[in-house]
Protein backbone atom coordinates (compact mmCIF):
# COMPACT_ATOMS: atom_id res chain seq x y z
CA UNK A 1 0.00 0.00 0.00
CA UNK A 2 2.70 2.33 1.08
CA UNK A 3 4.64 1.47 -2.01
CA UNK A 4 1.75 2.13 -4.30
CA UNK A 5 1.26 5.51 -2.68
CA UNK A 6 4.85 6.51 -3.17
CA UNK A 7 4.77 5.32 -6.76
CA UNK A 8 1.61 7.32 -7.30
CA UNK A 9 3.12 10.45 -5.81
CA UNK A 10 6.27 10.11 -7.88
CA UNK A 11 4.13 9.91 -10.96
CA UNK A 12 2.14 12.94 -9.90
CA UNK A 13 5.31 14.90 -9.36
CA UNK A 14 6.62 13.84 -12.77
CA UNK A 15 3.45 14.96 -14.50
CA UNK A 16 3.53 18.23 -12.62
CA UNK A 17 7.18 18.76 -13.51
CA UNK A 18 6.45 18.04 -17.16
CA UNK A 19 3.83 20.76 -17.09
CA UNK A 20 6.26 23.31 -15.69
CA UNK A 21 9.23 22.31 -17.79
CA UNK A 22 7.59 21.64 -21.13
CA UNK A 23 4.11 23.15 -21.20
CA UNK A 24 4.95 26.55 -19.79
CA UNK A 25 7.34 27.50 -22.62
CA UNK A 26 4.82 26.23 -25.16
CA UNK A 27 2.00 28.08 -23.44
CA UNK A 28 4.18 31.18 -23.43
CA UNK A 29 4.69 30.92 -27.20
CA UNK A 30 0.99 30.38 -27.90
CA UNK A 31 -0.04 33.19 -25.58
CA UNK A 32 2.45 35.65 -27.02
CA UNK A 33 1.34 34.76 -30.54
CA UNK A 34 -2.18 35.85 -29.62
CA UNK A 35 -1.24 39.24 -28.19
CA UNK A 36 -0.78 42.68 -29.64
CA UNK A 37 2.77 44.06 -29.86
CA UNK A 38 2.42 46.12 -26.69
CA UNK A 39 1.35 43.24 -24.48
CA UNK A 40 3.76 40.81 -26.15
CA UNK A 41 6.70 43.03 -25.29
CA UNK A 42 5.96 42.56 -21.58
CA UNK A 43 7.02 38.91 -21.99
CA UNK A 44 4.65 37.67 -19.29
CA UNK A 45 2.01 34.97 -18.98
CA UNK A 46 -0.90 37.33 -18.56
CA UNK A 47 -4.03 36.51 -20.46
CA UNK A 48 -4.23 38.71 -23.58
CA UNK A 49 -6.78 41.50 -23.34
CA UNK A 50 -7.77 40.96 -26.95
CA UNK A 51 -7.14 38.01 -29.23
CA UNK A 52 -4.99 38.92 -32.16
CA UNK A 53 -3.98 35.45 -33.31
CA UNK A 54 -5.85 35.54 -36.59
CA UNK A 55 -4.68 39.01 -37.54
CA UNK A 56 -1.15 38.12 -36.45
CA UNK A 57 -1.23 35.06 -38.69
CA UNK A 58 -2.49 37.13 -41.58
CA UNK A 59 0.23 39.69 -41.05
CA UNK A 60 3.01 37.11 -40.78
CA UNK A 61 1.85 35.22 -43.85
CA UNK A 62 1.56 38.38 -45.91
CA UNK A 63 4.93 39.77 -44.83
CA UNK A 64 7.52 40.20 -47.59
CA UNK A 65 5.18 39.27 -50.42
CA UNK A 66 4.02 36.05 -48.82
CA UNK A 67 7.51 34.85 -48.06
CA UNK A 68 6.22 32.37 -45.52
CA UNK A 69 4.12 30.49 -48.06
CA UNK A 70 7.07 30.24 -50.42
CA UNK A 71 9.18 29.11 -47.51
CA UNK A 72 6.74 26.36 -46.59
CA UNK A 73 6.77 25.14 -50.17
CA UNK A 74 10.58 25.19 -50.35
CA UNK A 75 11.04 23.52 -47.00
CA UNK A 76 8.52 20.80 -47.76
CA UNK A 77 10.07 20.08 -51.12
CA UNK A 78 13.56 20.09 -49.66
CA UNK A 79 12.51 17.75 -46.86
CA UNK A 80 10.62 15.28 -49.03
CA UNK A 81 13.24 15.04 -51.75
CA UNK A 82 16.08 14.67 -49.27
CA UNK A 83 14.18 11.98 -47.41
CA UNK A 84 13.43 9.93 -50.49
CA UNK A 85 17.04 10.00 -51.65
CA UNK A 86 18.36 9.35 -48.18
CA UNK A 87 16.10 6.35 -47.57
CA UNK A 88 16.90 4.73 -50.91
CA UNK A 89 20.63 5.46 -50.90
CA UNK A 90 21.28 4.66 -47.26
CA UNK A 91 19.28 1.46 -47.09
CA UNK A 92 21.01 0.18 -50.22
CA UNK A 93 24.42 1.06 -48.87
CA UNK A 94 23.70 -0.41 -45.45
CA UNK A 95 22.49 -3.65 -47.03
CA UNK A 96 25.82 -4.31 -48.71
CA UNK A 97 27.86 -3.00 -45.82
CA UNK A 98 26.19 -5.30 -43.32
CA UNK A 99 26.07 -8.36 -45.55
CA UNK A 100 29.56 -8.21 -47.00
CA UNK A 101 32.67 -8.75 -45.04
CA UNK A 102 35.91 -8.29 -46.92
CA UNK A 103 38.97 -6.10 -46.96
CA UNK A 104 37.07 -2.95 -47.89
CA UNK A 105 34.51 -3.22 -45.09
CA UNK A 106 36.52 -1.61 -42.29
CA UNK A 107 37.48 1.22 -44.59
CA UNK A 108 33.90 1.90 -45.54
CA UNK A 109 32.88 1.85 -41.89
CA UNK A 110 35.70 4.22 -41.14
CA UNK A 111 34.46 6.67 -43.77
CA UNK A 112 30.92 6.50 -42.47
CA UNK A 113 31.98 7.00 -38.87
CA UNK A 114 34.19 9.92 -39.88
CA UNK A 115 31.14 11.57 -41.40
CA UNK A 116 29.44 11.39 -38.04
CA UNK A 117 32.37 13.06 -36.33
CA UNK A 118 33.93 15.50 -38.76
CA UNK A 119 32.36 18.93 -38.90
CA UNK A 120 31.52 19.80 -42.50
CA UNK A 121 33.81 22.44 -43.97
CA UNK A 122 31.50 25.13 -45.15
CA UNK A 123 33.46 27.37 -47.45
CA UNK A 124 35.01 24.54 -49.49
CA UNK A 125 31.56 23.00 -49.82
CA UNK A 126 30.21 26.25 -51.22
CA UNK A 127 33.10 26.28 -53.62
CA UNK A 128 32.45 22.73 -54.82
CA UNK A 129 28.72 23.37 -55.23
CA UNK A 130 29.47 26.50 -57.16
CA UNK A 131 31.83 24.66 -59.49
CA UNK A 132 29.04 22.17 -60.17
CA UNK A 133 26.51 25.00 -60.68
CA UNK A 134 24.52 23.63 -57.79
CA UNK A 135 25.04 26.49 -55.35
CA UNK A 136 21.74 28.18 -54.48
CA UNK A 137 19.70 25.44 -56.14
CA UNK A 138 17.21 23.09 -54.59
CA UNK A 139 19.22 20.17 -55.96
CA UNK A 140 22.30 21.51 -54.23
CA UNK A 141 20.73 21.88 -50.81
CA UNK A 142 19.05 18.48 -51.12
CA UNK A 143 22.39 16.84 -51.89
CA UNK A 144 23.98 18.60 -48.92
CA UNK A 145 21.24 17.40 -46.59
CA UNK A 146 21.54 13.86 -47.96
CA UNK A 147 25.32 13.79 -47.66
CA UNK A 148 25.39 15.18 -44.12
CA UNK A 149 22.55 13.00 -42.87
CA UNK A 150 23.94 9.89 -44.50
CA UNK A 151 26.28 8.53 -41.79
CA UNK A 152 23.57 8.53 -39.15
CA UNK A 153 21.02 6.87 -41.43
CA UNK A 154 23.45 4.29 -42.73
CA UNK A 155 24.30 3.31 -39.17
CA UNK A 156 20.62 3.03 -38.28
CA UNK A 157 19.92 0.85 -41.29
CA UNK A 158 23.01 -1.27 -40.79
CA UNK A 159 22.09 -1.92 -37.18
CA UNK A 160 18.61 -3.00 -38.15
CA UNK A 161 19.83 -5.04 -41.08
CA UNK A 162 21.68 -7.27 -38.65
CA UNK A 163 18.36 -8.44 -37.25
CA UNK A 164 17.17 -9.68 -40.65
CA UNK A 165 18.39 -13.27 -40.92
CA UNK A 166 20.66 -14.19 -43.79
CA UNK A 167 18.55 -17.28 -44.36
CA UNK A 168 16.04 -15.04 -46.07
CA UNK A 169 18.67 -13.98 -48.60
CA UNK A 170 19.76 -17.54 -49.12
CA UNK A 171 16.22 -18.72 -49.70
CA UNK A 172 15.67 -15.95 -52.19
CA UNK A 173 18.84 -16.77 -54.06
CA UNK A 174 17.79 -20.38 -54.26
CA UNK A 175 14.55 -19.12 -55.80
CA UNK A 176 16.64 -17.36 -58.40
CA UNK A 177 16.39 -13.79 -57.10
CA UNK A 178 19.09 -11.31 -58.14
CA UNK A 179 20.55 -8.70 -55.82
CA UNK A 180 18.22 -5.85 -56.76
CA UNK A 181 15.09 -7.96 -56.74
CA UNK A 182 16.09 -9.42 -53.39
CA UNK A 183 16.69 -6.02 -51.89
CA UNK A 184 13.75 -4.09 -53.23
CA UNK A 185 11.06 -6.76 -52.99
CA UNK A 186 12.08 -8.59 -49.84
CA UNK A 187 14.59 -6.72 -47.70
CA UNK A 188 13.41 -3.15 -48.14
CA UNK A 189 9.84 -3.84 -46.93
CA UNK A 190 11.30 -5.55 -43.86
CA UNK A 191 13.13 -2.35 -43.02
CA UNK A 192 9.87 -0.49 -42.43
CA UNK A 193 10.33 0.16 -38.69
CA UNK A 194 13.74 1.73 -39.12
CA UNK A 195 12.57 3.62 -42.19
CA UNK A 196 9.91 5.16 -39.99
CA UNK A 197 12.59 6.22 -37.55
CA UNK A 198 14.63 7.74 -40.35
CA UNK A 199 11.58 9.56 -41.65
CA UNK A 200 10.74 11.12 -38.29
CA UNK A 201 14.24 12.04 -37.15
CA UNK A 202 15.55 13.24 -40.49
CA UNK A 203 12.37 14.98 -41.61
CA UNK A 204 12.33 16.95 -38.40
CA UNK A 205 16.04 17.64 -38.67
CA UNK A 206 15.92 18.79 -42.28
CA UNK A 207 12.74 20.79 -41.88
CA UNK A 208 14.24 22.51 -38.86
CA UNK A 209 17.69 22.88 -40.36
CA UNK A 210 18.89 26.44 -40.26
CA UNK A 211 22.61 26.44 -40.89
CA UNK A 212 22.75 24.55 -44.17
CA UNK A 213 20.06 26.53 -46.01
CA UNK A 214 21.64 29.71 -44.66
CA UNK A 215 24.91 28.85 -46.36
CA UNK A 216 23.98 26.76 -49.36
CA UNK A 217 20.52 27.98 -50.30
CA UNK A 218 20.53 31.75 -49.86
CA UNK A 219 18.21 34.25 -51.52
CA UNK A 220 14.74 35.38 -50.54
CA UNK A 221 13.12 33.33 -53.29
CA UNK A 222 14.81 30.33 -51.76
CA UNK A 223 13.77 31.08 -48.21
CA UNK A 224 13.06 28.11 -45.97
CA UNK A 225 10.85 28.31 -42.91
CA UNK A 226 13.79 28.56 -40.53
CA UNK A 227 15.21 31.44 -42.53
CA UNK A 228 11.90 33.30 -42.23
CA UNK A 229 12.43 33.17 -38.49
CA UNK A 230 15.82 34.67 -39.02
CA UNK A 231 14.58 37.28 -41.47
CA UNK A 232 11.68 38.26 -39.26
CA UNK A 233 13.89 38.60 -36.19
CA UNK A 234 15.29 41.81 -37.54
CA UNK A 235 12.13 42.98 -39.24
CA UNK A 236 9.80 42.33 -36.32
CA UNK A 237 12.32 43.45 -33.79
CA UNK A 238 9.70 45.08 -31.60
CA UNK A 239 6.86 42.79 -32.58
CA UNK A 240 7.40 39.65 -30.57
CA UNK A 241 3.82 38.62 -31.22
CA UNK A 242 4.54 38.20 -34.93
CA UNK A 243 7.82 36.40 -34.34
CA UNK A 244 6.08 33.97 -32.00
CA UNK A 245 3.24 33.49 -34.45
CA UNK A 246 5.86 32.46 -36.98
CA UNK A 247 7.40 30.04 -34.48
CA UNK A 248 3.98 28.57 -33.84
CA UNK A 249 3.19 28.12 -37.52
CA UNK A 250 6.46 26.48 -38.45
CA UNK A 251 6.26 24.04 -35.55
CA UNK A 252 3.00 22.55 -36.79
CA UNK A 253 4.38 20.30 -39.58
CA UNK A 254 6.96 18.47 -37.41
CA UNK A 255 4.31 18.10 -34.75
CA UNK A 256 1.87 16.44 -37.16
CA UNK A 257 4.59 14.14 -38.38
CA UNK A 258 5.43 13.17 -34.86
CA UNK A 259 1.83 12.46 -33.91
CA UNK A 260 1.56 10.26 -36.97
CA UNK A 261 4.76 8.28 -36.46
CA UNK A 262 5.07 8.43 -32.67
CA UNK A 263 4.51 4.74 -31.98
CA UNK A 264 6.96 3.46 -34.55
CA UNK A 265 9.80 5.60 -33.34
CA UNK A 266 10.89 3.47 -30.41
CA UNK A 267 10.51 0.27 -32.39
CA UNK A 268 12.89 1.51 -35.07
CA UNK A 269 15.38 2.78 -32.55
CA UNK A 270 15.48 -0.50 -30.69
CA UNK A 271 17.57 -2.43 -33.10
CA UNK A 272 18.88 0.54 -34.99
CA UNK A 273 21.16 3.03 -33.40
CA UNK A 274 21.63 1.05 -30.24
CA UNK A 275 23.60 -1.64 -31.93
CA UNK A 276 25.09 0.66 -34.52
Amino acid sequence: MNRRLSRWSIEAIAVLASVVIFWVPLYFVILTAMKDPQEASLMNLDWPSSFQLWSNIKEVVAARDYMLLRAFWNSSLMTVLSLVLMIVFCSMAAFVMQRRNDKATPWISFFVLSGLIIPPSIVPTIWVLDELNLFKTLTGIVLVEVALGMPFCVLLYRGFMATIPREIDEAAVVDGYGGYRLFFTIIFPLLKPVTATVVVTQAVFIFNDFTNPLYFFPGSKNATVQLTLYNFTSQFVSQWNLLFTDILLITIPPLLLFIFFNKRLVAGMTSGSVKG
Binding site: F22, L116, P120, I122, F210, Y230, S271
Partner: protein, 288 residues
Protein backbone atom coordinates in the same frame (compact mmCIF):
# COMPACT_ATOMS: atom_id res chain seq x y z
CA UNK B 1 31.71 -15.82 -48.95
CA UNK B 2 30.61 -17.65 -52.03
CA UNK B 3 30.92 -16.10 -55.44
CA UNK B 4 27.22 -15.93 -55.93
CA UNK B 5 26.79 -13.82 -52.80
CA UNK B 6 29.53 -11.52 -53.90
CA UNK B 7 27.41 -10.91 -56.96
CA UNK B 8 24.23 -10.51 -54.95
CA UNK B 9 25.78 -8.06 -52.51
CA UNK B 10 27.32 -6.06 -55.29
CA UNK B 11 29.10 -2.82 -54.53
CA UNK B 12 26.77 -1.19 -57.03
CA UNK B 13 24.47 -0.76 -54.06
CA UNK B 14 26.99 1.56 -52.54
CA UNK B 15 27.41 3.68 -55.62
CA UNK B 16 24.68 6.35 -55.29
CA UNK B 17 25.45 6.97 -51.64
CA UNK B 18 29.17 6.96 -52.27
CA UNK B 19 29.00 9.51 -55.09
CA UNK B 20 26.92 12.02 -53.13
CA UNK B 21 29.01 11.50 -50.04
CA UNK B 22 32.30 11.87 -51.86
CA UNK B 23 31.38 14.96 -53.82
CA UNK B 24 29.51 16.88 -51.13
CA UNK B 25 31.40 15.79 -48.05
CA UNK B 26 34.73 14.04 -48.63
CA UNK B 27 36.05 16.29 -51.39
CA UNK B 28 35.33 19.58 -49.56
CA UNK B 29 36.87 18.12 -46.41
CA UNK B 30 40.00 17.21 -48.35
CA UNK B 31 40.06 20.62 -50.00
CA UNK B 32 39.80 22.31 -46.63
CA UNK B 33 43.32 21.13 -45.82
CA UNK B 34 44.58 22.91 -48.89
CA UNK B 35 42.52 26.08 -48.59
CA UNK B 36 43.43 26.44 -44.92
CA UNK B 37 46.90 27.33 -46.17
CA UNK B 38 45.70 30.15 -48.38
CA UNK B 39 44.38 33.66 -48.33
CA UNK B 40 41.17 32.96 -50.15
CA UNK B 41 38.38 35.01 -51.73
CA UNK B 42 36.55 32.04 -53.30
CA UNK B 43 37.50 33.18 -56.78
CA UNK B 44 41.13 33.69 -55.97
CA UNK B 45 43.64 32.17 -53.62
CA UNK B 46 47.21 32.77 -52.58
CA UNK B 47 49.31 30.27 -50.65
CA UNK B 48 50.49 31.73 -47.34
CA UNK B 49 51.73 28.63 -45.53
CA UNK B 50 50.70 28.15 -41.94
CA UNK B 51 49.96 31.84 -41.30
CA UNK B 52 46.24 31.16 -40.91
CA UNK B 53 46.91 28.66 -38.17
CA UNK B 54 49.27 31.05 -36.42
CA UNK B 55 46.63 33.79 -36.61
CA UNK B 56 43.88 31.49 -35.47
CA UNK B 57 45.87 30.35 -32.47
CA UNK B 58 46.52 33.97 -31.57
CA UNK B 59 42.79 34.66 -31.67
CA UNK B 60 42.12 36.12 -28.19
CA UNK B 61 39.02 34.08 -27.61
CA UNK B 62 40.47 30.80 -28.79
CA UNK B 63 41.61 29.49 -25.42
CA UNK B 64 38.18 30.32 -24.03
CA UNK B 65 36.75 28.70 -27.13
CA UNK B 66 38.54 25.40 -26.59
CA UNK B 67 37.58 25.34 -22.94
CA UNK B 68 33.96 26.30 -23.62
CA UNK B 69 33.61 23.74 -26.39
CA UNK B 70 34.81 21.01 -24.08
CA UNK B 71 32.72 22.15 -21.11
CA UNK B 72 29.61 22.55 -23.22
CA UNK B 73 30.00 19.10 -24.77
CA UNK B 74 30.83 17.41 -21.47
CA UNK B 75 28.07 19.04 -19.46
CA UNK B 76 25.32 18.48 -22.01
CA UNK B 77 26.53 14.95 -22.64
CA UNK B 78 26.57 13.98 -18.96
CA UNK B 79 23.22 15.58 -18.32
CA UNK B 80 21.70 13.78 -21.28
CA UNK B 81 23.15 10.43 -20.19
CA UNK B 82 22.02 10.79 -16.58
CA UNK B 83 18.67 12.36 -17.40
CA UNK B 84 18.02 10.08 -20.36
CA UNK B 85 18.76 6.97 -18.29
CA UNK B 86 16.54 8.01 -15.39
CA UNK B 87 13.72 9.07 -17.68
CA UNK B 88 14.19 5.90 -19.71
CA UNK B 89 13.81 3.73 -16.61
CA UNK B 90 10.88 5.75 -15.39
CA UNK B 91 9.12 5.72 -18.72
CA UNK B 92 9.48 1.97 -19.16
CA UNK B 93 8.00 1.26 -15.72
CA UNK B 94 4.33 0.61 -15.23
CA UNK B 95 2.91 4.07 -14.90
CA UNK B 96 -0.37 5.35 -16.21
CA UNK B 97 0.91 8.57 -17.76
CA UNK B 98 3.67 6.75 -19.66
CA UNK B 99 2.55 7.60 -23.17
CA UNK B 100 1.84 11.20 -22.34
CA UNK B 101 5.23 11.66 -20.67
CA UNK B 102 7.11 9.95 -23.48
CA UNK B 103 5.52 12.28 -25.99
CA UNK B 104 6.02 15.45 -24.01
CA UNK B 105 9.66 14.70 -23.27
CA UNK B 106 10.28 14.13 -26.95
CA UNK B 107 8.35 17.21 -27.99
CA UNK B 108 11.18 19.83 -27.78
CA UNK B 109 13.23 17.79 -30.24
CA UNK B 110 10.65 18.76 -32.85
CA UNK B 111 11.00 22.49 -32.41
CA UNK B 112 13.69 24.27 -34.38
CA UNK B 113 16.82 25.24 -32.51
CA UNK B 114 16.49 28.86 -33.53
CA UNK B 115 12.94 29.03 -32.22
CA UNK B 116 14.00 27.43 -28.94
CA UNK B 117 16.85 29.92 -28.69
CA UNK B 118 14.58 32.91 -29.26
CA UNK B 119 11.97 31.73 -26.77
CA UNK B 120 14.45 30.91 -24.03
CA UNK B 121 16.49 34.06 -24.38
CA UNK B 122 13.25 35.94 -23.81
CA UNK B 123 12.41 33.82 -20.79
CA UNK B 124 15.92 34.39 -19.44
CA UNK B 125 15.74 38.18 -19.67
CA UNK B 126 17.19 39.42 -16.35
CA UNK B 127 14.39 41.78 -15.37
CA UNK B 128 11.26 41.00 -17.36
CA UNK B 129 11.93 37.36 -18.27
CA UNK B 130 9.60 34.67 -17.04
CA UNK B 131 12.31 32.87 -15.10
CA UNK B 132 13.34 35.82 -12.99
CA UNK B 133 9.87 37.26 -12.50
CA UNK B 134 8.86 33.86 -11.14
CA UNK B 135 11.90 33.77 -8.88
CA UNK B 136 11.15 37.30 -7.72
CA UNK B 137 7.59 36.24 -6.92
CA UNK B 138 9.04 33.45 -4.79
CA UNK B 139 11.30 35.96 -3.10
CA UNK B 140 14.61 35.25 -4.81
CA UNK B 141 16.67 37.47 -7.01
CA UNK B 142 17.50 35.58 -10.18
CA UNK B 143 20.85 35.99 -11.91
CA UNK B 144 21.38 37.47 -15.36
CA UNK B 145 21.26 34.08 -17.04
CA UNK B 146 22.81 35.04 -20.33
CA UNK B 147 24.59 38.23 -19.26
CA UNK B 148 26.66 36.93 -16.37
CA UNK B 149 29.79 35.51 -17.95
CA UNK B 150 30.14 32.87 -15.23
CA UNK B 151 26.85 31.16 -15.97
CA UNK B 152 25.96 32.17 -19.53
CA UNK B 153 27.45 29.03 -21.03
CA UNK B 154 25.68 26.82 -18.52
CA UNK B 155 22.39 28.56 -19.24
CA UNK B 156 22.77 27.74 -22.91
CA UNK B 157 23.81 24.18 -22.00
CA UNK B 158 20.65 23.86 -19.94
CA UNK B 159 18.53 24.84 -22.93
CA UNK B 160 20.43 22.37 -25.07
CA UNK B 161 19.66 19.60 -22.59
CA UNK B 162 16.02 20.68 -22.48
CA UNK B 163 15.88 20.32 -26.22
CA UNK B 164 17.94 17.17 -26.60
CA UNK B 165 16.98 15.00 -23.66
CA UNK B 166 13.98 13.57 -25.47
CA UNK B 167 16.21 11.98 -28.04
CA UNK B 168 18.49 10.45 -25.40
CA UNK B 169 15.44 9.17 -23.57
CA UNK B 170 14.08 7.44 -26.66
CA UNK B 171 17.39 5.70 -27.20
CA UNK B 172 17.37 4.54 -23.57
CA UNK B 173 13.77 3.39 -23.76
CA UNK B 174 14.70 1.30 -26.77
CA UNK B 175 17.79 -0.03 -25.00
CA UNK B 176 15.97 -0.93 -21.80
CA UNK B 177 13.12 -2.61 -23.66
CA UNK B 178 15.71 -4.75 -25.43
CA UNK B 179 16.94 -6.25 -22.16
CA UNK B 180 15.57 -9.81 -21.96
CA UNK B 181 13.02 -10.27 -19.19
CA UNK B 182 14.84 -13.36 -17.82
CA UNK B 183 17.37 -11.16 -16.11
CA UNK B 184 14.90 -9.35 -13.91
CA UNK B 185 13.01 -12.56 -13.30
CA UNK B 186 16.22 -14.16 -12.07
CA UNK B 187 16.87 -11.17 -9.88
CA UNK B 188 13.41 -11.33 -8.41
CA UNK B 189 13.96 -14.98 -7.50
CA UNK B 190 17.19 -13.93 -5.76
CA UNK B 191 15.17 -11.37 -3.82
CA UNK B 192 16.66 -8.21 -5.32
CA UNK B 193 14.77 -4.93 -5.05
CA UNK B 194 14.28 -2.11 -7.56
CA UNK B 195 17.55 -0.52 -6.53
CA UNK B 196 19.49 -3.73 -7.26
CA UNK B 197 17.68 -4.08 -10.52
CA UNK B 198 18.72 -0.61 -11.59
CA UNK B 199 22.40 -1.02 -10.77
CA UNK B 200 23.03 -4.63 -11.61
CA UNK B 201 20.78 -5.09 -14.62
CA UNK B 202 19.62 -1.87 -16.24
CA UNK B 203 22.81 0.13 -16.02
CA UNK B 204 25.19 -2.53 -17.36
CA UNK B 205 22.80 -4.01 -19.90
CA UNK B 206 21.70 -0.73 -21.40
CA UNK B 207 25.33 -0.02 -22.05
CA UNK B 208 24.93 0.00 -25.86
CA UNK B 209 22.32 2.74 -25.47
CA UNK B 210 24.64 4.62 -23.14
CA UNK B 211 27.41 4.44 -25.69
CA UNK B 212 25.14 5.76 -28.42
CA UNK B 213 23.94 8.63 -26.25
CA UNK B 214 27.47 9.51 -25.16
CA UNK B 215 28.91 9.49 -28.65
CA UNK B 216 26.01 11.27 -30.34
CA UNK B 217 25.57 13.97 -27.74
CA UNK B 218 29.29 14.50 -27.21
CA UNK B 219 29.88 14.99 -30.92
CA UNK B 220 26.78 17.15 -31.12
CA UNK B 221 28.06 19.22 -28.21
CA UNK B 222 31.52 19.70 -29.69
CA UNK B 223 30.05 20.86 -32.99
CA UNK B 224 27.22 22.82 -31.44
CA UNK B 225 26.68 26.21 -32.94
CA UNK B 226 23.16 27.30 -33.81
CA UNK B 227 21.73 27.35 -30.30
CA UNK B 228 24.70 29.27 -28.93
CA UNK B 229 24.50 31.66 -31.83
CA UNK B 230 20.76 32.17 -31.47
CA UNK B 231 21.03 32.86 -27.75
CA UNK B 232 24.27 34.75 -27.10
CA UNK B 233 26.24 35.09 -30.37
CA UNK B 234 29.25 33.96 -28.36
CA UNK B 235 28.86 36.83 -25.90
CA UNK B 236 28.85 38.69 -23.67
CA UNK B 237 32.26 39.59 -25.03
CA UNK B 238 33.80 36.22 -25.79
CA UNK B 239 32.34 34.42 -22.78
CA UNK B 240 30.33 31.78 -24.64
CA UNK B 241 32.44 31.48 -27.75
CA UNK B 242 33.00 27.92 -28.89
CA UNK B 243 35.29 26.86 -31.72
CA UNK B 244 32.38 26.68 -34.14
CA UNK B 245 31.29 30.24 -33.37
CA UNK B 246 34.84 31.54 -33.71
CA UNK B 247 35.03 29.90 -37.12
CA UNK B 248 31.73 31.45 -38.07
CA UNK B 249 32.98 34.90 -37.10
CA UNK B 250 36.06 34.52 -39.30
CA UNK B 251 33.75 33.42 -42.08
CA UNK B 252 31.56 36.48 -41.54
CA UNK B 253 34.61 38.68 -41.75
CA UNK B 254 35.22 37.23 -45.21
CA UNK B 255 38.40 35.51 -44.02
CA UNK B 256 37.64 32.30 -45.89
CA UNK B 257 41.11 30.85 -45.61
CA UNK B 258 41.18 31.59 -41.90
CA UNK B 259 37.71 30.13 -41.38
CA UNK B 260 38.76 27.00 -43.21
CA UNK B 261 41.86 26.74 -41.03
CA UNK B 262 39.54 26.93 -38.04
CA UNK B 263 37.52 24.11 -39.55
CA UNK B 264 40.62 21.97 -39.78
CA UNK B 265 41.45 22.75 -36.15
CA UNK B 266 37.94 21.83 -35.04
CA UNK B 267 38.22 18.65 -37.08
CA UNK B 268 41.43 17.68 -35.31
CA UNK B 269 40.07 18.66 -31.89
CA UNK B 270 36.89 16.63 -32.33
CA UNK B 271 38.69 13.62 -33.76
CA UNK B 272 41.31 13.66 -31.02
CA UNK B 273 38.60 13.52 -28.37
CA UNK B 274 36.00 11.30 -29.98
CA UNK B 275 38.05 8.48 -31.50
CA UNK B 276 39.74 7.44 -28.24
CA UNK B 277 36.45 7.84 -26.41
CA UNK B 278 34.57 5.68 -28.84
CA UNK B 279 37.34 3.06 -28.81
CA UNK B 280 37.27 2.98 -25.03
CA UNK B 281 33.51 2.65 -24.91
CA UNK B 282 33.49 -0.18 -27.41
CA UNK B 283 36.23 -2.08 -25.62
CA UNK B 284 34.53 -1.97 -22.26
CA UNK B 285 31.10 -2.83 -23.58
CA UNK B 286 29.48 -5.86 -21.94
CA UNK B 287 28.16 -8.48 -24.27
CA UNK B 288 24.62 -9.52 -23.73
Amino acid sequence: MSKIFKRIYTYQFLLPAAIVYLVIFVVPTGLSFFFSLTRWTLSDWELIGFDNFVTFFKEPSLSIGFRNTFIFAAVTCLAKVAGGLLLGVFLTSKIRSRNYLRSIVFFPTLVSTIAVGIVFSMMMHPTTGLLNTTLAWLGFEGPDWLGDTRIALLSVAFVDVWRGIGFATVIYIAGILAIPAEYSEALQIDGGNAWNKFWSIIVPLSRPATNSVIILSFIGGLRSFDLIWAMTRGGPGFATDVIASIIYKQYQGGFYGLATAGNVILFIFVTALVFPLSRYLNRTEVDL
